[in-house]
Amino acid sequence: MGAFYAAVAVRGFRRYATYRMATAAGVFTNSVFGLIVSYSYIALWDQRPHLGGYTQAQALTYVWVGQALLMTMALMGGGFEDELMERIRSGDIAVDLYRPADLQAWWLSADLGRSAFHLLGRGVLPMVCGALVFDLALPSDAVTWLLFLVAVALGAVVSFAVRFLVALSAFWLLDGSGVTQVAWLAGLFFSGMLLPLTVFPGWLGVVARALPWAAMLQVPADVLLGRDSGPSAAGALAFQAGWAVVLLGAGRLLQTVAARRVVVQGG
């Protein structure tokens, strides 16, 4: 069964790898945004050198990690959820449900394949571009990079779990565009894409750092920056894994309830 889902993941990867021109265009756009945001952070950190506990080099690294993970975590949409919602709306979901594959595991595999492609195709080059233009605080030891990859993988699972819940809302709402939009806004803001969550003032920061979206960008970035190392890195990864388990569990529960709602039209 594992080999089957691995094959689904590989095809998820290849499906997105087909569009090379689109990938090149995306890399360009990520790099331009990284450049613009970097300069606004430089102005901010010039005045407050240790804002949010980051040095200026660390803050700039954070910007480029953000650009690298924007598509990997599907923070602005573009994952599987639109497709799944369309299948629910059109009724094709009935066919999916009696296939000998689990709905959640199928889409998780396909989406992890997509994430892996976006990490390589859309993440590496903008990061290189950022490192060429600015002084970044990238780690030199392999362990930190390895921990970072684990954190990215866990973040991708949390990201999937949230979007799976969003997609399943279509069973009740049919048109899920409102929920998608709210989830997209929450993701953009609470993942730390606009500003690191460590810079959020007071209780807003405390709440934001406890929400699942923190697992998608803030935690991987902090692991890479070495702010979470040793036992605190284990804590950070456990935070991600905890949310992954809770949200995947909720998705499974909702899937069971939703499957009971499906009424297949005869004829």
Binding site: Y19, M21, A22, A24, A25, G26, F28, T29, V32, F33, L35, I36, V37, Y39, S40, I42, A43, L44, Q47, R48, L51, D175, S177, G178, Q181, V182, W184, L185, L188, F189, L194, L195, V199, F200, P201
Partner: protein, 295 residues
């Protein structure tokens, strides 16, 4: 299908093509504008069939753009000035570029769908209709929800105008609406040029986001924040600096980091006109080079 591809081309060769009557440019522009309005009206009626959905997506559009401003406010929770500008001054930059970009996004924001039409062949349908293709593409799936962005930009601009410390003169009062209109025209030209680019690179519609959305983000911050070469780039190469930076620096009485002569601050309408002319030329060149997929 090569034969039909040739026919599309002949149909679009303009006044020199078969069966086309040469018309005065004024009449052609009027016809394009009228067609644009008709198609827009159709999409607005279709949007209004689902009123609740429209209200929700418009609010979402408002909230999405408002997050940009929340980010700036959060930054100012830690500093008093950013790049030499206070919060009301940055809000003035934010409000002017957001309003100008919002108007362009409402009028021309559908241009990034062109690549998809080129890929799946539905552009051919537009070529068959007796209406300029640009008007059809620009009005395609007209999204009234984008009023959300304009509203948000205007609100921030209004707040900035109340709080900003400016000695208003008649010249400055006139400069404000002039810069909003010129800015919208410059962004419209960027959208059209981006659309033209998709005739050659139908998968690369995301490139234009770096100039449209990216440019809009950049113009929200004071020019002093950015590297000199970058400011030169958006002044002389893609002249986004004329959307708000140069006229806004004049209104706010701040020095120009490039040290350009003072009269340049008033050039926005001229620059906007040139951009539109260039974008129009690029569009015609793109349309002429179009070959149908034939499927």
């Amino acid at each position: 299908m090569a034969e039909s591809a040739e026919r599309w081309e002949a149909a679009d060769a303009g006044p020199r093509g078969v069966g086309r009557v040469r018309r005065r440019p004024g009449a052609a522009a009027f016809q394009a504008g009228w067609a644009y309005l008709l198609i827009v009206g159709m999409w607005v009626r279709s949007t209004m069939a689902y009123r609740l959905s429209f209200v929700m997506t418009a609010l979402g559009n408002f909230a999405a753009t408002a997050l940009d401003f929340v980010t700036i406010v959060l930054m100012f929770a830690h500093v008093r000035v950013l790049g030499g500008f206070t919060l009301p001054e940055v809000a003035f930059l934010y409000g002017t570029t957001s309003t100008a970009f919002g108007v362009a996004d409402l009028l021309m924001g559908s241009m990034d769908r062109l690549g998809r039409r080129v890929r799946d062949g539905t552009l051919d349908t537009l070529l068959l209709r007796p209406v300029p293709v640009l008007a059809q593409v620009a009005a395609d799936r007209f999204a009234l929800r984008r009023l959300g962005r304009i509203t948000q930009g205007l609100l921030v601009l209004g707040w900035a105008l109340m709080r900003v410390d400016v000695a208003w003169t008649p010249v400055k009062v006139v400069l404000l609406p002039v810069m909003l209109v010129s800015g919208a025209a410059i962004f419209c030209a960027v959208f059209v040029a981006g659309g033209a680019f998709q005739f050659w690179a139908s998968d690369a519609s995301e490139v234009q986001n770096s100039v449209t959305y990216g440019g809009n983000t950049m113009l929200q911050y004071p020019p002093g924040v950015f590297a000199r070469e970058l400011v030169r780039g958006v002044t002389f190469v893609v002249p986004l600096a004329f959307v708000n930076w140069l006229p806004a620096l004049r209104i706010l009485g701040e020095p120009d980091p490039l040290g350009l002569p003072g009269w340049v601050d008033f050039l926005s309408p001229v620059v906007a006109f040139c951009c539109c002319a260039l974008a129009g030329a690029a569009w015609r060149a793109g349309l002429r080079s179009y070959r149908s997929t034939g499927s």
